[in-house]
């Protein structure tokens, strides 16, 4: 079973990368673009045909490693 995982900084956490990217985008003349936030994106496979169990394992991977819950939040999506 394949999953997509999104890890993003919590809203109240400053995002230095997003901010720098936004500056750079403005410099490129793309002045309509704003509010850029940068996060991480993972794809992974879980070798378990039971959807609930598989999701639970993906969930665990997020909590234990992929996201730092002090500053980040995550969401999971099954894609196949």
């Amino acid at each position: 079973m394949k999953f997509e995982i999104f890890v993003t900084l919590k809203k109240e956490v400053l995002d230095p990368q997003g901010k720098a990217v936004e500056g750079a985008i403005q410099n490129l003349g793309l002045s309509n673009i704003s509010n850029i936030r940068q996060g991480k994106y993972f794809t992974l496979e879980v070798n378990d045909s039971n959807e609930e169990k598989a999701t639970q394992q993906a969930e665990e991977a997020c909590k234990k490693l992929l996201a730092n819950l002090t500053i980040e939040e995550y969401s999971i999506k099954k894609i196949g």
Binding site: E12, V13, L14, P16, Q17, K19, A20, K40, K64, L65, L66, N68, T70, I71
Partner: protein
């Protein structure tokens, strides 16, 4: 005084810190991250470097190493734990210290001497440094931009956990003297019980006049 230096895959200041500890006659053992027990030690050092390549988040994967269970136990029992640079990042990832270290605000690796103020000399790591003493110590990092939630900052202040702050030569703590965007210019913090210290600057690089300075030695002397 006995110390253990934990070696993670990708640690690269492990030897540097060993040299420093030995210079102050601290008996030092290197401990591989997969060990399940610690040699008897008063102090555990998590050295600088790029554990696991700094991939995912700095310190994240090292914080899950087997030996870290023992380090956490050691800290909970009141033993000293000292995280330098990547070691600091590992300590925040384990939760032994609050907050997190984000990318430097200019998104570049910075290696240079900076000034830090010893805001708190009531810890085992700073007790021989005069209060508010300004030290010149190098930093070398990409992710040293300290962040913590409002509540965490509140509690850091309340329990007097801010140990070092970036400043200028005269001791002014300002935006200009902040090399990486750190909240409140924080360069180092301790836990509430003051037996765990994490700092981004590298005191082990500042113990030899030939290499540019000796301001780091106060920290090692405090531990003796």
């Amino acid at each position: 005084m006995k110390a253990s230096v934990i070696v993670f895959p990708g640690s690269n200041c492990d030897r540097d810190v060993q040299v420093a500890l030995q210079k102050f006659q601290i008996d030092t053992t290197m401990v591989w991250h997969q060990e399940t027990s610690l040699p008897k030690s008063d102090l555990v050092v998590l050295p600088g470097g790029f554990s696991y390549g700094d991939y995912l988040r700095c310190g994240s994967m090292a914080s899950k190493s087997k030996v870290m269970n023992e380090v956490i136990k050691h800290a909970k029992d009141g033993g000293y734990v000292f995280g330098i640079c990547n070691g600091f990042q590992i300590l925040t990832e384990t939760g032994l210290l609050p907050g997190a270290l984000l990318r430097n605000s200019k998104l570049k690796f910075i290696c240079k001497n900076v000034f830090i103020k010893t805001t708190n000399n009531q810890t085992a790591f700073t007790k021989k440094i005069p209060e508010n003493k300004i030290l010149s110590i190098p930093i070398a990092h990409n992710e040293g931009n300290y962040f913590a939630s409002k509540e965490e900052i509140q509690s850091l202040k309340e329990y007097n956990q801010i140990v070092f702050q970036y400043c200028d030569e005269e001791g002014n703590i300002s935006g200009e003297s902040n090399p990486n965007g750190s909240f409140l210019n924080i360069a180092g913090i301790s836990n509430q019980t003051k037996n765990v210290l994490g700092m981004m600057p590298h005191p082990e690089r500042s113990i030899d006049q030939l290499l540019g300075g000796v301001d780091g030695q106060g920290i090692f002397q405090s531990l003796l």
